[in-house]
Subunit: 421 residues, 2 copies
């Protein structure tokens, strides 16, 4: 966990406001769930590996005493490790009061008890949109376009949107002859293609003891799944032996998503089918998608459809699909860029109104400060120190653009901190 | 803890943006501290009664196992119960990288393990500004004016700012003959004046075993402390027997604050000295202040100077003063008011672009939606349901102003949801 200094908070706030404005334009509305959820919910299996990283909260008062005496579980609450599991609980509990479909924006902190390492924090911000209560390709089209527009508005360019469908991946596994019951393991190995290459994936599948003939069939297919060339038609031809109406309609929906996204993506961006896209979470049931930006190899946003998560809480399945921006990564990218004029303009010019004697009548300086504020400036009343040169350097270092000395009298001329005199 | 529905999130977001804009105008800058702090910090004594309400987080892994075996404390972290104790830690740790003075805005959640009751939540938002690193009345003048302007900008009116100083209260206690070592207990009893009246305060002081002559002297003084009439001069005359230079300069600073605030307060607002203002926290050392609004009896913002808190962490005292808006109370007041046109204008007109067949080509509807968004509308692509009347009612209930049916073709006329046809 870490403290955030003013410059970075302003960068984060601006990014949040930009993203919110774009998402609201697409009809999404912000919701909020509490940071603490019941441990029962958080450990129900939807969180995968993240469930091992929960910060658990001790029971309190009599309940803690009773738990100690009985040797029971001492914790009853946990800090949320993502925004998707709490969203499913929120929908199950509040759906009668919510719009249908619910188009939700969530931007907020999550917590994971990871070992501290560079660029990873134990508290970090997630930034998600989800559509709950309606299915069909129109949902993915809006998720992808809203997220792309948000990223482009923030200054990223040449986005590449990649799409696949878990049902097509399942058909590939079945067509190769992998055991349906071990499909999760197949996905986990396949997901490592980027990192370990085709030979590494095949080795992992062999070592995990998957059916040898299935692994061999998959190996011969793998070369043809190169996302630079593979088409939906090509992959569908490879899985005809196991093609069900469900697989056929997934392919048609994926085509519809890609066609509609293609016409509306911001200039310079592209969308394509990628049969090697797998994504990590176990709960995906349909289309899955990621966005990468020019100059940054790994994806900056990822998501997918998870139609069976809410059913486990509500008793009836509810269609659901979501897209998450890697907010901390986005901020580190934006932080490397020259912000300069745009940033200053966004918050206004910051100046110091200096008073020589803090115990003199303050009504005069206060009135001058109010007048300067009415012109859109950010005005801080500051007491002039004896070492003015050092004070001027400090002010400049912390983003002040200029200063006015009250005791110099009218006109209240703003002087640049570039040349303190 | 509770879920926040979209209408309330939008109200909260608007309030935060309004407050931030005003505070930034006064030269304050937002900072962020993590939700979790070490239990050692949180239980160091500055939090008063709140320290009993900490949600404690279990140690993890080997540390948890070791603590269990040794019978040690099982928790090492806790959720913050306010934003002031974390701010002191933040300043002690980061002061070299921070502006001096630091004018900090903090808006974020805090947690208290209270018994659930109406209007009290176990997670709630605090909204604070603090000035660290510089003393003098200029600080309180800016804190009071910034907070007043924020509240007036949010629509509250006829604010009353009340001010007092802990050093004047201490002089009253000493002049009456109360034991210096028991001053905390005297403040706690005096602070209940609003609730139990003068007789109740005197009874509590007697029952607590304070010096009987001191209680009697205080009783005779109490009537003259009526905030409607009492002046600083009057109170200073009553404490001349114990007046130190420190008390005299506190009175002068309080006069300077009140005079400067009086000339710059928004129209219809007033500021006054209130010798019966005590405030709850033990850490205050100087000026203390509260703001109430017309129509709402209890205060909506409160704060004061706490010059000795940071010294306990840093090893040297740092002047510090802060003002906190009761954010949840503010939201409940704003939520009762007719939001109407202003609210809709703030987020834009929300409309539904209805498509009849979700599996038809989506490129057309997507382009129309983009065109409608460029006119500043919030456009949600929605699939038209068979029961359109019910769907139109639902849309209207959730804040949609109008709809466009894609299959009707051009011109894409927005029709009002007041008359769905």
């Amino acid at each position: 966990m870490r403290d955030v200094l003013p410059d970075e908070v302003e960068l984060r706030d601006r990014a949040v406001q930009t993203i919110l404005a774009v998402y609201r334009g697409y009809g999404f509305r912000r919701i909020e769930t509490p940071a603490l959820e019941s441990l029962r919910l958080l450990t129900s299996g939807e969180g995968g590996e993240n469930e091992k990283l929960i910060f658990k909260v001790l029971k309190r008062g009599d309940e803690l005493r009773a738990a100690r005496e009985r040797g029971d579980e001492l914790a009853d609450l946990g800090l949320r490790f993502d925004l998707t599991v709490p969203l499913a609980r929120y929908y199950a509990q509040n759906h009668a009061k919510l719009p249908n479909p619910l188009k939700a924006i969530q931007i907020g902190p999550v917590w994971r008890a990871e070992r501290p390492q560079r660029g990873r924090f134990r508290q970090f911000t997630q930034c998600d949109i989800d559509v709950l209560g309606v299915g069909g390709p129109v949902v993915e089209v809006e998720l992808v376009l809203a997220t792309s527009e948000a990223l482009v508005t923030l200054g990223l360019s040449e986005l590449t949107v990649r799409l696949n469908d878990r049902r097509i991946l399942a058909a590939i596994a079945r067509a190769c002859g992998f055991d349906d019951a071990r499909r999760g393991g197949f996905f986990i190995a396949f997901d490592k293609l980027d990192k370990v290459g085709p030979a590494g994936v095949i080795r992992e599948l062999r070592e995990a003891g998957h059916d040898a003939a299935a692994v061999a069939t998959f190996e011969s297919l793998l070369a043809s799944l190169d996302p630079a060339h593979a088409t939906i038609d090509h992959v569908m031809a490879a899985v005809t032996s196991v093609a069900s109406p469900d697989v056929t309609s997934s392919a048609a929906a994926l085509r519809a998503i890609i066609d509609a996204v293609a016409v509306a993506l911001p200039p310079g961006c592209q969308v394509r089918f990628d049969p090697t896209l797998v994504r990590g979470m176990g709960y995906y049931t349909g289309p899955i998608f990621e966005i990468a930006a020019a100059g940054y190899p790994s994806s900056i946003a990822g998501g997918g459809r998870y139609d069976r998560m809410i059913g486990k809480l509500l008793g009836r399945d509810v269609p659901a699909s979501g897209f998450s921006i890697g907010f901390e990564r986005l901020i580190s990218i934006l932080g490397e860029r020259p912000a300069g004029a745009a940033a200053a303009e966004a918050v206004g010019e910051r100046i110091a109104l200096l008073i020589d004697d803090p115990d003199a009548d303050l009504a005069g300086p206060v009135s001058v400060a109010q007048r300067l504020r009415r012109d859109g400036r950010l005005v801080s009343l500051e007491v002039r120190r004896k070492n003015w040169k050092k004070q001027a350097e400090d002010l400049a270092a912390h983003g002040f653009a200029g200063w006015v000395r009250y005791n110099d009298g009218e006109p209240w001329r703003v002087r640049s901190l570039a040349r303190p005199d």
